[in-house]
């Protein structure tokens, strides 16, 4: 009888809650419609809830550090070494933002996150910034309360198989087990591409790559699908550690633009992060790198603005010399790329990640 009562109480609570939810979601939509995208849309909804506009930029400056959500198990993008130091392409962009906003690239607290936990952490304000090989999609932009910023890496999903199998197309994998990480866009792409082509398959789903890799190497999965950059990283890791030769299929089955993400609703913070990140590409375009940006002595007015020599301040909430801090402490885009990405077997030349003047997609708005 006790359990019946408990069940009844629980059902009642659920009903009460459901009633609350539908009420408030109605409110929320009207508020948003009224506000029309303007900054100050906040209206107090509940009488006992204090609702203040978040100002992450001020919070971050007060705290003296940014909390950055990263990957801790992806070679090239985010890994932890034996001493507990974070390193990688994404990690460097956390440092870029810290250098731009706070003037100190080391003022970062890293928070390793799983693919599934990342947006919740961002929504809850647990992290200020998410740079964790996260693909920009419409659903995530719209439903996760996430604000995607400048794409730092153009990636695409590929398929890796052991070279000895001789498989070259997805059709060769009909009915096969395919290893994939759960809660990723990769999983959705895998399903939609295979279904669209009518290829049956069985996903074998893991939470992180440390569990997935043994299953793939032992042959439990015949294919491993992920972003091509990740596959390249694991291909070199497996071959480097004496494993079988691996083959990455030429076919890229999706667009995966990866970049920094902040929570919706804080435009100032988003702008500060975005321009800090874009400064690395702008510096590259100007031919400035960590060795020469501090000693620029030319008379190009655009570059003089960029290095803040006349205290030029476009009003982004960043110090006039933020670009110098970013590039001196971390480097320009090419330096960051060269530090991490060629090591996992991907080249800058010919890839979309090259600068626009060389035929790539790295193009930033002018800094003036």
């Amino acid at each position: 009888m006790k359990s019946i009562k408990l069940l009844a109480v629980f059902t009642a609570l659920m009903l009460v809650f459901a009633a609350c939810t539908s009420d408030d979601s109605g409110d929320a939509t009207t508020t948003e419609a009224d506000g029309g995208g303007d900054g100050g849309t906040d209206t107090t909804e509940g009488d006992d809830v204090d609702l203040t506009q978040t100002d992450t930029l001020a919070d971050v400056r007060a705290a003296g550090q940014i909390v950055c959500g990263v990957n801790d198990g992806l070679p090239g993008f985010g890994v932890v070494d034996a001493d507990g130091n974070y390193d990688g392409f994404d990690v460097d962009f956390c440092r870029v933002v810290a250098a731009g906003v706070l003037g100190d690239a080391d003022a970062v607290e890293y928070r390793p996150l799983t693919a599934e936990a990342r947006f919740t952490a961002l929504q809850a304000g647990e992290i200020d910034l998410l740079i964790r090989n996260t693909t920009w999609t419409a659903t995530r932009d719209g439903q996760e309360g996430a604000n995607f910023l400048f794409t730092t890496f153009y990636d695409g999903q590929g398929m890796m198989v052991p070279a000895s199998t001789g498989f070259t197309t997805l059709e060769d994998l009909a009915d096969a087990n395919i290893c994939v990480l759960s809660g990723t866009t990769t999983e959705l792409n895998l399903t939609s591409v295979f279904n669209a082509r009518g290829i049956p398959f069985n996903p074998v789903v893991f939470e992180d790559n440390s569990q997935l890799r043994p299953a793939y190497e032992e042959g439990q999965c015949e294919g491993w699908t992920s972003d091509a950059s990740q596959l390249a990283a694991f291909k070199s890791a497996i071959e480097g550690e004496g494993g079988d030769d691996q083959f990455i299929m030429a076919e890229i089955i999706s667009k995966e633009p990866l970049g920094p993400v902040v929570a919706d609703g804080d435009t100032n913070w988003a702008q500060a992060v975005e321009w800090s990140v874009m400064a690395t590409v702008q510096a590259w375009e100007f031919g400035l790198d960590s060795s020469n940006i501090g000693s620029y002595s030319g008379d190009n007015p655009n570059i003089l603005n960029f290095v803040g020599s006349d205290n030029f301040d476009p009003g982004l909430g960043l110090a006039p010399d933020f670009a110098v801090q970013v590039v001196e402490q971390v480097g320009n885009y090419k330096e960051i790329f060269d530090r991490h990405i060629p090591a996992i077997g991907l080249q800058l030349e010919g890839s979309p990640n090259n600068i626009w003047t060389e035929g790539g997609l790295m193009y930033v708005p002018p800094y003036r």
Partner: protein, 402 residues
């Protein structure tokens, strides 16, 4: 003077009346809980709406868009609630078979611990100390990695086939990914057949009661289990023949491309890892509960059984165990509940249970808050249903004292 005495006799003032204070205290407690709950929910809803995140449950009727592992019959275009049901089914199956395994092994271990045979009792002791001192997650990962992924079994395409004696039909396909066992494939009208079997079960129950009554009245041996099974089997056979043999044996076989198992039943490595690991883990706890319960039965009962010249088996079966069961059932219910909840650890070996499904679903853009609320509600219902069933059983087993 008189006034004081009158006040003493009258009821104390309201703020000192213990009955009033008790009621007020309870009302206050409920109010505090309610306000905290309301504050938490209000906080959450405000923050979600600030971020523009929906709090509706409409997402349940959108397409799932991802394939569920080892569920080839599942169409990724199906709605999210249908996919949730697949997760619920897997959680249920792991819990169900896990409980059976845990009960059987637990009983053996519990009785062995008390065995007078030195070797048997030591083996049981080592078993208990080994399993109950390891976190269940580690046991699951051990089974997943050491028995299946990196274990001794061949790849799916090179499966070992154990043939049924003297035929080409495999009754067991073994590999490190999914095992095939014989099953049944429907070829005709199954509804009518199951109806007949259902009637058989009802008739069997009636026969059971008749035998019980006959036993109570005359003391003749009742053999009610045999009677019951006999009736059900008879209906089964008659139903099978009468409806034109509506199903046939289906043998597992590797498909042409050696990547599928066609026919029979298929169990995947995640399911086996979770079920076996949790079954063995929980068995160590149940074994200890049983040992304690057997020891709690008064020695006089065993002595009386010996005095009646019952064999050791009869002593256990008819005297000791029935009394031990009464003591053991309540703590065993807890272990069953733990086992069902622990199936959520199966994500570590890629088992597509309710938790794995929910996490994947959240990662693919479904709202986290509502998804987790639904998951909690489902686990809670599982647990409440198990407690309900076992509490009813428990009440029936308790001694009727007057």
């Amino acid at each position: 003077m008189t006034t004081t005495r009158e006040r003493d006799l009258a009821r104390p003032p309201l703020w000192r009346d213990v009955r009033v204070l008790r009621v007020l205290g309870q009302v206050g407690a409920v109010l505090v809980v309610f306000l905290i709950f309301r504050w938490l929910v209000g906080n959450l809803l405000t923050n979600l709406s600030r971020l523009g995140i929906s709090t509706s449950f409409d997402f349940l009727f959108g397409p799932t868009n991802f394939q569920i592992p080892y569920a080839s019959e599942f169409n990724p275009r199906a709605e999210v609630w249908q996919a949730t049901l697949v997760g619920v089914k897997n959680t249920f199956l792991a819990g169900f078979f896990g409980i059976i395994l845990a009960s059987v092994v637990g009983l053996i271990v519990g009785v062995s611990r008390l065995s007078e045979n030195w070797l048997v009792s030591r083996i049981a002791t080592v078993y208990v100390e080994f399993f109950r001192n390891i976190p269940p997650l580690v046991v699951i990962i051990f089974f997943g990695a050491a028995v299946f992924t990196n274990g001794p079994f061949p790849l799916l395409r090179e499966s070992w086939e154990l043939n049924w004696f003297g035929t080409d039909n495999a009754f067991l396909l073994i590999n490190n990914d999914r095992w095939g066992v014989p099953g049944f494939a429907g070829t005709g009208e199954l509804g009518l057949f199951w109806l007949i079997v259902g009637i058989g079960v009802v008739v069997g129950a009636v026969v059971w009661r008749w035998r019980t009554k006959a036993f109570d009245a005359t003391g003749q041996p009742h053999h009610r289990v045999l009677w019951f099974l006999g009736v059900v089997v008879a209906f089964f056979v008659v139903g099978y023949l009468a409806t034109g043999q509506p199903f046939e044996m289906s043998w597992p076989a590797l498909s042409e491309n050696r990547r599928r198992i066609d026919g029979g039943f298929e169990v995947n490595w995640g399911f086996m890892s979770v079920t076996i690991a949790l079954g063995l883990y929980t068995a160590s706890h149940i074994g200890e509960i049983l040992r304690g319960s057997i020891l709690a039965v008064h020695t006089g009962q065993s002595e009386a059984a010996n005095a009646l010249a019952l064999t050791a088996f009869q002593r256990y079966r008819f005297v000791v165990l029935p009394q031990a069961m009464r003591i053991a059932l309540p703590p065993t219910i807890n272990q069953y509940l733990n086992l069902v909840k622990n199936t959520s650890l199966g994500t570590a070996v890629g088992f597509a249970d309710l938790t794995a499904f929910t996490k994947t679903s959240i990662g693919n853009g479904r709202p986290a808050f509502q998804s987790i609320l639904i998951m909690m509600a489902i686990y809670l219902s599982f647990s409440l249903v198990i407690s309900l069933i076992l509490n009813i059983l428990n009440r029936r087993l308790q001694l009727v004292t007057r």
